[in-house]
């Protein structure tokens, strides 16, 4: 594993021009492009779970504002006009059941560089442990199904699964839509009781991705597709057998089914296979941390998908109906399959101002229910989402803009 890390870091460093960065003046004459965006979700919600095998039922109600976030991004061209460098800072309200400390955390804190061929990000950002983003209200809604589990984490914290310090490169060989992707990352680590450990680089990945420019999503069929091999190095102390390496394979894609931008049907599907660590066993009597660790370290496969219909009369988005599903199975365990289905509805009442409603139902087979303590659960939430995105001093054309993709790339 260390050899992989050294090779990956060396390759990464070779793509970055090395310059001294201390004690140089900041040229205030050159203002960066500034992009500010954010989203506030406020949804009264009600959750209930049916206890398994005599365990007590649970219910809860809340005004959920988790996943609300704000982000600012700053970009400048480099002197040679061969690319753009930038910095991103973003904060996010943590989930209401999360064990991450504090109410908010830095989900984005990274430096970037991109040009026609390279897209590089170094720092805290979204993990590369998925290829399809599901249209659920919050990222956590299908967390266990849609992302590669963190085999080094023994605590409940969706933020650990979603965000981590990484160094990632996407290489577009012909400047087009296909990219070879690679990354190294420092996924969250805990001890057996779920207490955080100091971070270290413990994951690496390699893959291929196809991304149609967002501007083309409504007029072309394939929006995105990709496949990624994801490797995690687990500390020996966390492994039940001394096996410290876990591979996962992710594949998926998103497609627009019809060719009518006023009535858009779209579908997406993603599969994740994780080989798991050796000798992981489900023990319902183990501590909570150990049970969470076992779920993260066990061999598993997960299939997720969605179907959406977006109504855009006069080409203005007004409504979206979505149906999202997830199936996950732990093949080494008996009766350890879970299912989830989420219908949701978005009524757009203004630019990025949405009234939303979502229902979720999840059921677990007995083997898995014994581990989690519940047999099935459901939640309903209705609320308001306010989003915004504004660019100031907009002096940089995007790599994937229609002009740059179809009419010649301008640096």
């Amino acid at each position: 594993m260390r050899q992989i890390i050294v090779i990956a870091l060396t390759a990464l460093i070779c793509t970055v021009p090395l310059r001294p960065v201390l004690a140089l003046e900041v040229d205030r004459a050159v203002a960066p492009r500034i992009t500010v965006g954010g989203r506030l979700l406020a949804t009264p919600r009600y959750d209930e779970a049916k206890g398994f095998d005599g365990q007590s039922d649970e219910d809860a109600s809340d005004i959920d504002i988790s996943d609300s976030s704000i982000m600012a991004r700053f970009d400048k061209r480099i002197y040679s006009q061969q690319g753009v460098a930038g910095a991103t800072i973003g904060i996010r309200k943590v989930g209401f059941e999360s064990e991450v400390e504090g109410d908010v955390f830095f989900n984005q804190l990274n430096a970037t560089f991109w040009n026609r061929s390279i897209d590089l990000v170094v720092g805290q950002t979204r993990q590369r442990n998925f290829v399809v983003e599901l249209p659920t209200l919050r990222d956590e809604d299908l967390l266990a199904y849609a992302y590669v589990p963190d085999a080094s984490s023994f605590r409940e914290a969706e933020e650990d699964t979603l965000f981590a310090p990484i160094a990632a490169v996407q290489w577009y060989p012909n400047g087009g839509r296909n990219a070879l992707t690679s990354f190294v990352g420092a996924q969250a680590r805990t001890d057996l009781s779920g207490d955080p450990e100091s971070p270290e680089i413990n994951s690496v990945g390699l893959g291929w991705a196809y991304h149609a420019p967002e501007a083309m999503h409504l007029v072309e069929h394939t929006r995105a597709a990709g496949v990624r091999l994801f490797y995690q190095d687990v500390d020996e102390s966390l492994s039940p057998s001394g096996d410290t390496g876990m591979y996962s394979l992710i594949a998926g894609g998103e497609w627009t089914l019809n060719r009518d931008p006023s009535r858009v049907w779209a579908v997406g599907v993603q599969g994740i296979y994780s080989e798991g660590l050796e000798d992981v066993e489900f023990d319902p009597l183990a501590s909570e941390g150990e049970r969470i660790g076992a779920l993260n370290q066990a061999q598993s496969w997960a299939l997720t998908g969605f179907l959406t219909y977006t109504g855009r009369p006069k080409l203005l988005t007004r409504t979206r109906y979505g149906l999202v599903f997830g199936i996950k199975d732990y093949p080494d365990e008996t009766d350890a399959r879970s299912y989830a289905i989420i219908p949701n509805f978005v009524w757009r009442i203004g630019h990025a101002i949405d009234l939303v409603a979502q229902y979720k139902y999840e059921a677990l087979d007995d083997g898995l229910a014994a581990m989690t303590g519940f047999e099935y659960g459901q939640s309903i939430q209705v609320g308001l989402v306010f989003g915004f995105d504004k660019t100031f001093n907009d002096q940089i054309g995007e790599r994937s803009s229609i002009l740059n993709m179809e009419h010649g790339y301008i640096r």
């Binding site: 501007a215 083309m216 060719r259 009518d260 006069k314 080409l315 229609i402 009419h407």
Partner: protein, 434 residues
């Protein structure tokens, strides 16, 4: 064609890029054009028009209109994209009625370099910025086959030329916008004489000011100005201002939207209101009040699109990439300035007075002796310069905020009047950062 260094015979200059064909149009082309005209009805019988020619009576059945009415196809049920369609509007004589000088024009997206290091995408007539320069003689019949090679819609408005209204190029007022892949045939008589110009009239703030413009010079058979000011060289300066950030984002945005509109149109599913087309104001009000249509100008949909010009130019280039005016001692030159930008430009010549002789193409009753002329947006201003002070003289907008490139002086709308056959004691160099 916008090479201002070029010495031309002002009376007979014809742009090579326009593929002027009046003398050599072959029978195959005539058959093609007539065949295409037959698809849309063509100009069959002529009636009285602006020039005294009879108005056309056309069969517009293919356009979805009954009888001989000529109207918009945009409201036709199932209106579809018809790439390759040649549209022959009524209002001007047919090919066999008059002897046309025929030109082919198209519109495409090009990468254009304003100044070294600054390249942007532009809509460009025949791939040029500015578009090709027309030189015709007053009374000539002009036929322009305008083909749209972009995904956006366009027209050509002949600014200052007195044309039949169906040739005026104003979308949804005098014609449908020219759809992607279609050809619209403009026919008119070149009049009145003078410095005129043309520009796209669709999405005008972007299309007209950023690149889709060019000179349309109508020469008199006997020009009294030439007798009084016997000029031997004739320069055209198209004055331009660009917000390259607005242009980039606007073009990307409209291409994104047009891909959707064109897809709907190709399937016959485009509701005209989707494109902001209404039969009349009443229809528009009803659509708004019923909630079916939410206008994009509302404060709920737009906080206003800002245009902040950061590059200024002459004939597609900013200083120091602008080309110089050449003159010899004892020579008269004519300079035609066309303000295709949305800003005023106060053009000042060093070391000389000049004679302002024409405005908007029309000769002034009395030439005025000036050294600064205030060129208004949309206007054309002709001046005569006499070479009586050998040297190198700057000629620039005296709103010096326009003599900058992205805020850095000097740049922008600046060129030089350079004397030929002259040995300088101080030779100019290039300065870009003062």
């Amino acid at each position: 064609m916008s090479d201002i260094n070029k010495s031309v015979d002002a009376e007979n200059r014809r742009p090579e890029e326009l593929n002027e064909q009046s003398e050599r149009i072959d029978s195959r082309r005539r058959r093609f054009l007539r065949g295409a005209a037959a698809i849309t009805g063509g100009a069959a019988v002529l009636g009285g028009g602006v020039s005294g020619v009879r108005a056309a009576q056309m069969d517009h059945s293919a356009m979805g209109h009954g009888g001989n009415a000529y109207g918009s196809m945009m409201f036709m049920q199932g209106h579809q994209m018809e790439p390759g369609l040649v549209i022959e509007p009524p209002g001007s004589p047919g090919d066999d009625e008059v002897d046309y000088r025929e030109f082919d024009m198209d519109i495409r997206i090009v990468e254009h370099e304003i100044v070294p290091g600054v390249k942007i995408h532009m809509f460009a007539f025949n791939g040029q910025v500015p578009g090709p320069e027309f030189h015709v003689t007053e009374g000539d019949w002009v036929k322009v086959n305008f083909t749209n090679h972009t995904e956006e819609m366009h027209t050509i408005h002949w600014h200052g030329v007195v044309v039949p209204y169906t040739m005026d190029g104003v979308p949804m007022i005098t014609q449908d916008p020219v759809h992607p892949g279609q050809t619209f045939v403009y026919r008119f008589q070149a009049k009145p004489a003078g410095t005129r110009w043309y520009h796209c009239h669709w999405g005008t703030p972007l299309h007209a000011s950023h690149a889709m413009h060019g000179a349309f010079v109508i020469h008199k058979k006997d020009d009294p100005l030439k007798e009084r000011f016997p000029y031997t060289r004739d320069y055209t300066l198209v004055l331009e201002s660009w917000d390259i950030n607005f242009a980039r984002e606007e073009m990307n945005g409209l291409l994104e939207g047009m891909k959707q509109v064109n897809l709907l149109m190709s399937q016959g599913k485009l509701d005209p209101q989707t494109h902001g087309f209404f039969r009349d104001f009443r229809d528009f009000r009803q659509a708004y009040e019923s909630g079916q249509y939410i206008p994009p100008y509302l404060l709920s949909r737009s906080s206003g699109v800002e245009i902040s010009y950061n590059f200024f130019g002459i004939n597609g280039k900013s200083y120091p990439a602008t080309k110089r005016l050449k003159i010899k001692p004892g020579e008269w030159i004519r300079v035609r300035m066309i303000n295709a930008s949305n800003a005023r430009h106060h053009m000042h010549l060093h070391g000389h007075d000049f004679w302002w002789v024409a405005q908007d193409g029309n000769d002034l009753p009395q030439p005025l002796r000036l050294n600064t002329v205030h060129v208004e947006p949309g206007g054309t201003y002709d001046i005569m310069i006499y070479g009586d002070n050998p040297g190198f003289w700057t000629f620039h907008d005296h709103d010096t905020t326009h003599v900058r490139n992205n805020g850095i002086y000097p740049g922008g709308m600046l060129t030089l009047l350079e004397y030929e056959d002259f040995e300088p004691t101080y030779r100019p160099s290039t300065s870009v950062d003062q």
